[in-house]
Assembly symmetry: C2
Homo-oligomer: 219 residues x 2
């Protein structure tokens, strides 16, 4: 009985995710879903991405948090459009919430939407939002054993950002070991090692995402 | 409709948590529920705790993970009893799973049970397991804004362990600010600042938990 209820939730989510995708397709908008555990650096990564893309890029950010608007305020200070979704306790975003946010935005003025999901390495991976690209962040401070403990997130992501590389000398994180585990689970994943704090390694991510977003949306 | 289903889940969990508590009360066992986001250092903290308590302490560890047994194997290498619960995708432990684990253990040989919950700063706080003490870990690498973003965990915990203090010089973590926010949300919380990596600050936690566990269970 419980399983039936859950399947219902997932099915309904898939349908609305499909609607989101259709709407974005019509408007020619590229949408990225950014996921990670708490404190891996999602907001800092978005700020670095906004900074790295041309000034005239038409980008909007959807911020998912359980409560509060710390992150959308951080984003808004850069001048980028930011919409805050508060999940009211729920540990992940669902397609329906994103749909509501999309309806509040002027989609004709946007080419690229970045969604910052709730900080959680588990459930966000189960809920598609209608995105074109799924990006996850692992901070080296979290340890190199995370892919084996939270496999779905690592399997479902198109891109793995390994953040806080400036902390590598102060941790026991084994980059080669972690990457080899992830490559076995998800051979197509793109991996970027960088530090949002120092800016190290950001350039190759920027160059990659520029090529990925269709047309000349982001320069 | 959806809300009704959720309330049903929570109610059922409360009942089984009550049964766990009754069983543990009869056996004179003290149970601690350890929660945090992924990679904040739960397993390392348990290892430091086992190391700090007298050798003849009768302690068992219940390890909650989505999949795999990396953590229970780490614990078992110390000689402590360890039982692994795999949630099969679920992002938190529920009282029922702990009940199943308790039934597999010889409770007459145990005085202190440590439960390592699934790495998640959100949902574990919503599910009581029948524990006497709720302990959460925040790693300084996660940032000082976490209490405002994940308030329930910080409000529901009896103890806040601030881990990885050895990384403080390499982060922008503002300890005073974080503590002041937490103290407003949860004035009774006990806060320990420590580093499981270096061992710094562990002694005061050990001395506190020794006093907390009833009788002479842990020396």
């Amino acid at each position: 009985m419980e399983v039936e209820v859950l399947e219902g939730v997932f099915d309904a989510n898939e349908i609305i995710a499909g609607e989101n995708r259709k709407l974005l397709g019509e408007k020619g908008i590229f949408m990225m879903n950014l996921m990670s555990g708490p404190g891996a650096g999602k907001t800092s990564f978005i700020l670095r991405t906004l900074e790295g893309l041309p000034e005239n890029s038409r980008i909007a950010v959807i911020e998912g948090d359980i409560t509060g608007k710390i992150d959308s305020e951080r984003i808004a200070r850069t001048g980028a459009g930011a919409i805050q979704i508060n999940t009211g306790g729920s540990c992940h975003l669902e397609a329906k919430q994103v749909n509501t946010a999309l309806q509040k935005m002027n989609l004709d003025t946007i080419d690229f939407i970045i969604i910052e999901n709730v900080g959680n390495l588990v459930c966000p991976a189960e809920f598609k939002l209608g995105e074109d690209l799924r990006v996850m962040i692992l901070s080296v401070a979290e340890g190199d054993d995370k892919p084996l403990k939270y496999p779905l997130m690592f399997t479902e992501s198109d891109v793995l950002i390994v953040n806080k590389t400036d902390l590598l000398p102060n941790t026991d994180f084994d980059m080669a070991k972690m990457k080899s585990v992830v490559m076995k689970m998800n051979p197509d994943v793109e991996i970027f090692e960088l530090s949002c704090r120092t800016g190290d390694g950001i350039a190759s991510w920027i160059s990659w995402i520029k090529r990925k977003v269709p047309g000349d949306a982001v320069g």
